[in-house]
Symmetry: C2
């Protein structure tokens, strides 16, 4: 197995496994961790909350993996609005591009650690090792699935459904069920769901009044009735 993707593979993704997973099943468990040594082509970097990892239009010389913290990828519109495309948590890979430049910006939502991978060295490795291409492929397929799910979410009608989907998505990625610590602001959530901050706040308040959730802190959500959320989400 090549070294340059060893870190990418740290959550149960040996290249050999990925080879069989290519186009067939990419649902490798994301919670298995194996020790590894960081290869030359990767660099671990800290980012403080709110700082920019890369900007729209930057040369896409690297791609990234979240070690800890949360990252948002987003686009700024000419009218000042912002659209968030995705949130990335520990284990997620982001920042691959078809073109030469990044089409979106990426920013640290809270303090986080990010591993960056040189795109050039990956390309070189890929030419030698089919397994590496397949591993990348599975990451891209996962991005594609998420992006499709996000499109579906945005197209679907009302605010309650969007927030139900959002909470369920966050739960599925959170360490514990029942309690989610949202790291992002209401504005972040709004920009992700195509709503306003106020509507997000109102809808969460309504969920609380209905006994579906409890908010011990503004960003700590207790799921009292996940089934109700799932019914909304449908």
């Amino acid at each position: 197995m090549p070294t340059s993707l060893a870190v990418l593979a740290d959550n149960g993704f040996a290249a050999a496994q990925a080879a069989t997973a290519f186009l067939s099943r990419t649902s490798a468990p994301a919670d298995r961790f194996e020790p590894h040594s960081a290869p030359r082509s990767s660099t671990i970097m800290p980012f403080i909350a709110g700082s920019e990892i890369y900007a729209e239009g930057d040369q896409a010389v690297s791609f990234y993996k979240v070690v800890s913290g949360v990252v948002r990828s987003c686009k700024f519109l000419s009218d000042g609005r912002r659209q968030i495309d995705a949130f990335y948590v520990a284990g997620d890979v982001f920042g691959f591009e078809a073109g030469l430049q990044h089409g979106l910006s990426a920013e640290a939502v809270n303090d986080c650690k990010i591993i960056s991978f040189s795109r050039r060295s990956l390309e070189a490795g890929v030419a030698k090792d089919a397994g590496m291409a397949q591993e990348m492929f599975s990451y891209v397929m996962r991005s594609l699935e998420r992006s499709r799910a996000h499109s579906l979410l945005l197209g679907r009608g009302n605010a309650a459904q969007k927030l139900a989907s959002f909470l369920l998505e966050m739960t599925s990625r959170a360490p514990a069920d029942e309690v989610i610590d949202l790291v992002m602001t209401r504005q972040d959530i709004a920009d992700y769901l195509g709503l306003t901050m106020e509507t997000v706040s109102r809808t969460l308040s309504q969920f609380e009044r209905d006994g579906v959730i409890a908010l011990s802190l503004a960003r700590r959500v207790h799921l009292k009735n996940p089934t109700a959320l799932r019914n909304l989400d449908s």
Copy 2:
């Protein structure tokens, strides 16, 4: 070059080219055609307007390429609504899945011809030939880019902006500029943009009143002022 992707590669995508394109530039021109013989693993199939190519939940044993006509991929929601994820025209590849089953349905919008590729034979080829994996990769990257663009579109506010984006997207894929023959119904457009049929109709009428477009037939759009659309789209 392996045979099983020869047809996939018919629009300027030799595997060798794709190898260099991997992760760097996938913007191969889609209008160059080279002669080829159909390999064993692919089958050309006609579909009549409205018929189903595959349904959500079907085993994803194949993926597909549009030869002629238009295909929509969509999801049916429990409340009876329908969300269209993408339209595919001649040259587009669709239907790859991370999992074992299709997450969306695909239907013929009008009469069309589709080439189907066996996923198994591709997997076998991929194990032998890195170039093939890279070629698939570039198709998936293109899907990812489109899906992201669609998310952005859906999140962005008003109906006029959505329709402007939609018309520009259709122009970019249409043979001639200035005149677009929309193949899909107003309902299809609505389900793609997260609007209602009525709003689509009203907005197009408004564009016509503003002299931005002309509608010689309901589905034939003449772009009188593309700049105005681009300004809306921003």
